[in-house]
Symmetry: C2
Subunit: 450 residues, 2 copies
């Protein structure tokens, strides 16, 4: 158990949980976590964040320190007492990490006594929204980079250091090859990589002195940053050092500013002319999927891209319209009618099939208890039972799932500009239930005279 | 010391630090952290994140576990050995949290043996960039809300749970009144607040049953969410419960969807007609500074706004163009000439004076060793000496500083749309140094024949 974990929530979750418990409302509730609408420029999402959620749920427990803290925050005694001993004992179904998903599809469904299921809303939304936003952005970079390498350089601009860990993990699932983040590499078993900074060059009397020192100290992995003063001069000096020390196969250069296409072409020619055909060219500096697609499309001879900020904060879509909605309570399907925010009732499943000549993805949202239609996969799988994890997998497995899902996406969904989302259907049973519950709710309002 | 803290960095920082140490390059270096350019729609920034930086620097130490981890990640023995025993022993000057700052002004300057100063780049940028981005966004919401209350509702959509803590703290410094984040309230001594969710309403047989149950269980702080089914009906039911239980002064309603202006006016009239003149109206639901300014400008009777995602991820500017640049090494001022990324050399200070009839802010960036011009404040103060913090202050103090700085900003800088940044000058001595170093560097390149 992690101390204070139960306080990683919004105050209203605790208030509601306490009220439910005081009233003996301990029937099971099902909440469904999904993204209402995709941001502009997203044709699909990549499910991510589940592992942290399961870890949290398994370790969640309200202890005496938590109760004291709540009293200190001004909660009344009856509320605080009602929370004593609360832990998570429920079941969770979820879409495994790395799967491609669309708006409206449940990413995760929790079934538990309503107080427990309510309390965890904030944390589950927090983790799934962020990790899914990042994995989805990273997937776009993967599409743009084609066969070139991709390295996560985001740590310095992510929203805190925990965010940097999530970014490294999510981008690894969505096809990044390495990260500059040392702690993330250690924690998740990723490949750590890194070059040198302008400051290193500036600390030496000359650029050539700096290159020589760095190459001597890093003979098996020398990537020289060539744009501190003048890039083409930098390339020439790098070549001298690489040739002198015989490092061709272990060396590279990095260009971090200027016209990357033109500079990379010049550098490639200079390197090749010097016989350094194995020496690689890395590019970085404010890159996003559009810039990378342009460079790759133009045939710029760049072997790998370092991508930082724009991936690490998902700059054009730093959040998703994720929600966590009550869909059933005590065996009764539930829905909400608020203006523009209506929900579909009942525990759900997503059936993924294929259609058309190219065998492309076709999803239908149905009810959990429907028979899985022939020729379709059920996306949600049981991942936790009675508060214990029943699902744990490697980043490599999630990444493999991402890669195979990606191949099944239709072209309009994977284009970088103006992507077209795959439309998701509702099964006849789910549609009928929605109509019935909605009519009941409206009838009830009419019966009460409004 | 926190285990693994030394690994919260990019790999290249460790490689460079090791190389500096192997070469006996232990002369002091000064690095300057600043934001190159403000994002669109920002007329100023609010400095934030310093406290976490100082905490990190004081606790930083490379221990044996770190060295083992680096070996496991593939670093060679000489590099790993060179890092043994490294901790932060330097001095830091910084702009205290809550101060209004502009592009180009150093937020923080580190002077330490170059290996130490280099190693901490990633973490310092990470913390200052994020916290400053959020405080700056929150300040815009504070400007928009005028006298209305502001509550941080961002936890569910921030970039992880650590980010939620930083958001609660940064928004408190920039004038928010409370947070829904329980752990942040506990950790930072903030006011925690919260209402109820739609799911609570849906778990009861009727909206009125739900309102009554919640009010009974929270008699000293009852905020009823009225838009689960039909908002005006919800308001009527809330009034019935509030009147029945005699909770007028401790009660409120929250509207989370629809036309907030029209609904708030109707609700206010209905509440007033029922004699509930003290009952407050809260509004939430995808709000940003523009929506709030419109509501406030139109005179919508809303007492407080809950602001989530758009503040918590700084949606329109989720990152800042922050950099950490070497400006001096071994007593020698240093600068970089890269295309579009040139820097100003030497340790710096910012002198803030006032000008014009309205006594408005006027900043000049000078050198650290310049005499502070009469009638100006020096923004950077010493905050750490020899690796020990010499500066620690409360959130209340930072908030007070923010509020008094805000009053001195000229109108064009505080307008929400198309704000005009306050222009910042360079002192004659700083300008002369920049010219001299730049000419020396270009001369050196010419001398070497390029």
């Amino acid at each position: 158990m992690t101390v204070g974990r139960a306080l990683l929530t919004d105050l209203y979750e605790l208030r509601m949980a306490a009220s439910f418990r005081r009233r003996g409302m301990d029937a099971p509730a099902t909440f469904s976590l999904f993204v209402r609408e995709l941001p502009p420029e997203r044709g699909f999402l990549v499910a991510c964040g589940l592992d942290a959620c399961l870890d949290h749920l398994e370790g969640l427990a309200v202890d005496d320190d938590d109760l004291d803290a709540l009293t200190a925050l001004g909660l009344d005694d009856l509320t605080v007492e009602a929370l004593a001993g609360l832990r998570f004992t429920g079941d969770v179904w979820a879409v495994p990490e790395g799967r491609v998903v669309f708006a409206g599809e449940p990413l995760l469904e929790v079934t538990a006594p309503i107080a427990e299921a309510q309390l965890v809303e904030t944390y589950l939304l927090n983790q799934v929204t962020f990790a899914t936003a990042i994995a989805s952005k990273a997937a776009r970079l993967r599409l743009a980079a084609a066969d070139a390498g991709l390295v996560d350089f985001a740590f310095r601009r992510t929203h805190g250091s925990e965010a940097a860990m999530t970014v490294a993990r999510a981008s690894a699932i969505a096809g990044f090859d390495a990260t500059s983040n040392v702690e993330a590499a250690r924690r998740f078993g990723l490949r750590a990589t890194g070059t040198m900074a302008h400051s290193y060059v500036e600390a030496f009397p000359s650029e050539e002195d700096a290159f020589r020192a760095f190459a001597e100290d890093n003979p098996t992995n020398t990537v020289l940053l060539v744009d501190t003063y003048d890039t083409r001069t930098g390339v020439r000096r790098a070549i001298d050092v690489i040739v002198d020390l015989g490092l061709s196969a272990h060396a590279g250069i990095r260009i971090d500013s200027g016209d990357l296409d033109a500079l990379a072409r010049d550098a490639r020619r200079m390197l090749d002319d010097a016989g350094l055909t194995e020496t690689q060219i890395f590019a970085s500096g404010g890159l996003d999927e559009y810039a990378i697609a342009d460079l790759v499309g133009a045939g710029a001879p760049i072997d790998a891209f370092g991508v930082g900020t724009r991936m690490g904060v998902s700059e054009d879509a730093p959040s998703l319209e994720s929600v966590y909605k009550l869909v059933a309570y005590d065996g009764r399907p539930v829905m909400k009618l608020s203006t523009g925010k209506a929900t579909t009732p009942g525990p759900k499943q997503v059936f993924r099939g294929a259609q058309g000549t190219f065998n492309q993805m076709r999803d239908v949202i149905g009810l959990r208890d429907e028979t899985v239609p022939e020729g379709t996969d059920a996306l949600l799988v049981p991942v936790m039972r009675g508060g214990r994890r029943t699902h744990r997998e490697t980043i490599a497995a999630a990444r493999q799932r991402f890669e195979s899902d990606l191949r099944l996406l239709p072209t309009p969904a994977v284009q970088l500009r103006n992507p077209v989302e795959v439309s998701v259907g509702l099964s006849p049973r789910a549609a009928a239930l929605t109509t019935r519950i909605s009519q009941e709710l409206m009838g009830r309002d009419q019966a009460s005279g409004v």
